[in-house]
Symmetry: C2
Subunit: 430 residues, 2 copies
Amino acid sequence: MMRILSSNLKNNIGESVLVKGWVHRIRILKSVTFIILRDRSGCVQCVFEGKPEWTKGLKIETVVAIEGLVCTSNNQYQSVEIQGKTLEIQNEVAEDLPIQINGDHLEVNLETILNNRVLALRHFQNQAIFKLQALIVAAFRQFLEANDFLEMFTPKIVKEGAEGGAEIFKLNYFGETAYLAQSPQFYKQMMVIAGFERVFEVGSVYRAEQHSTNRHLNEYVSMDFEMGFIEDEYEVMAMEEKLLKFMFQTLAEKGKTQFEALGIQCPVVPDIIPKLKMKEAIEILKTHYQRHELDGDLDPQGEREISAYVKTKYGSEFVFITHYPKQKRPMYTKCYDESDETHSFDLLFRGLEITTGGQRINEKDILIERMVAKGLDPTLYSSYLEAFKYGAPAHGGLAIGLERLTAQIMDLSNVRLASLFPRDQQRLLP
Amino acid sequence: MMRILSSNLKNNIGESVLVKGWVHRIRILKSVTFIILRDRSGCVQCVFEGKPEWTKGLKIETVVAIEGLVCTSNNQYQSVEIQGKTLEIQNEVAEDLPIQINGDHLEVNLETILNNRVLALRHFQNQAIFKLQALIVAAFRQFLEANDFLEMFTPKIVKEGAEGGAEIFKLNYFGETAYLAQSPQFYKQMMVIAGFERVFEVGSVYRAEQHSTNRHLNEYVSMDFEMGFIEDEYEVMAMEEKLLKFMFQTLAEKGKTQFEALGIQCPVVPDIIPKLKMKEAIEILKTHYQRHELDGDLDPQGEREISAYVKTKYGSEFVFITHYPKQKRPMYTKCYDESDETHSFDLLFRGLEITTGGQRINEKDILIERMVAKGLDPTLYSSYLEAFKYGAPAHGGLAIGLERLTAQIMDLSNVRLASLFPRDQQRLLP
């Protein structure tokens, strides 16, 4: 007999069926035994007469196959139930569970959740988080493909790894020192210049930063795009506005069940996201939040404050901060001629930076100049610089951190909860 | 004026337009100058009266913006051309090109192609390869999503990295020894067991093998899926048959232009791919190819021979080799009870292995037994083993090497040509 998913049983009323899954709950009464079976699609109540032999020692989360008759019913899971005939144990549970995963919430702390990750992921809220995350990525790709961006796969083992910013992981590559890519930055620029013009990548990136906060991971998924022949960074921001609008609309539609499971609503992206120059943002923080110590950049508290301000004033949960000063941006960032500012931006969403982007320098000599000004040695970037010798159009792009975006959409308290198997300074397992 | 792509100009006959791109060709005659402009969508011929000032020193691959009038025409590129008014140089080419990229073929060797990767990628054949590659991946995902597989992102920095097979890259992770994942094998199994049941991932994997062949890369893209509640490995093969059928059909439709550019046809996947047990394959090689030295596995020559045999006998360019002996397969491979064989398979396509798959062991004790039999220390896999304690359904899956699949579809002589920025023992740049 072919297995049927629990969510499809409503089409099989009056038929004998086979279902397979995990024992979600067991309730043994005097004359009847209830087994709630859970599979990837949901739960179904299975009712057995009396107290069958197999109830002896049956543990929650055992993998079972149940045959029985589908009947209409009125229970908390579905409008049908199964009148069970046989139950076969397919994979036993040897020990008592370390955490309870069939309740309304996982009533344990973050460490315990991550230490018992495989089990914790079975909780319906975690299932919902990662189903939504998959939808986020799919919508990101769908929009970009429709807008003529090409998906690419660039190496994560790199030689010219250091962008002059955060620390990077080193490895021994057949006797040579190599690095784990902090971002596909150089490669996405090269791909624009290689004639593809519009490219995107969804892939792992690595930061050896010694941060231990609720918003940092040492390995995370970066959603990058880069586009050529732009006028300036405002074209990149306009593309992100349309991209996010599409992503969130798609998410609201396709992720309806998951949002309901999490008891939250999908955020709404305004057509035009408010934009503040860094100088304006700092002025606002001075005036309205008595923050007088900020210099050219926002700290995490400042990000939250400016987001709160924008939400009150413009009704938007998103805000672009533009015109970062050049000391605060990497060497490849295009600078304004007449000031210390750059053609760059961050996007804050609910008080957290989820995107960094901007227009890049596309003139080799200026790029070398900026490297030197940043104290970097241009000879260490010769393969990157080579790309700018044979016709490099104006270009720009951005990166969105997948786990951060997921966490902000779902109001998760820690970005680790939006990573299946998070990596931080203390955590390499599971 | 808004930029128009060259492939859209046919809709603008009689209008003034702006095009931007690279100077693909220059031809200066007595009374007229031809500039062939190339953008991501193709080429367009632009005709200027006389010999304008900017022709002086204008180099091929310069980035230009051209304004002019769209007229019907009869030239090798399009049924329209642009009567040029102005040409603005947007980014200059400083030096002569090291390779010629506007010919019918890139007439240089592999090393030169890879040393000049950004430039070489501008050649229309390389553009076609990576546009087709993006379609391959998109179709892989589309099929799996439609079949209820969830996209996942698993860590590439791992602690329990060694599957007991090929060598792996080590790195210092905040003072601890970590590895770069050889595959998402453990994690995709964990995700099935975590209740997602069906998962897939497209991501980088790492092999520190010291091979230097035309079919090995040290970093490549693996397309993995894993599915729970299967009967046996034949269910996994059946899924791959449907998957490949869908992928190749989609590719033939959406990649028509690219196949034409490459001058090749999209291969056809039979509904049922021929299956040979390893023992049968070895018998065939003995009988028909006088190969008497093979023992439980095929060498590259044997792969080519068995593919040739199957193509002649069954008309299929694909063949599954099944029932690999357990010495040749990793410890997690499920074994047949009554023999030395395993529930595993490879898929050969045009003489090359492009998939490895099989059913996995889902019983913790048997898994430990197999680890010990393979000389592996189970305590080094405790986090992986932990997953099998609380209900692990029968499951199996496979991995397809993206670059190999791409290379075989397009008859490329070296897998490096199907990687944007390949990594091998000698190559970390660009």
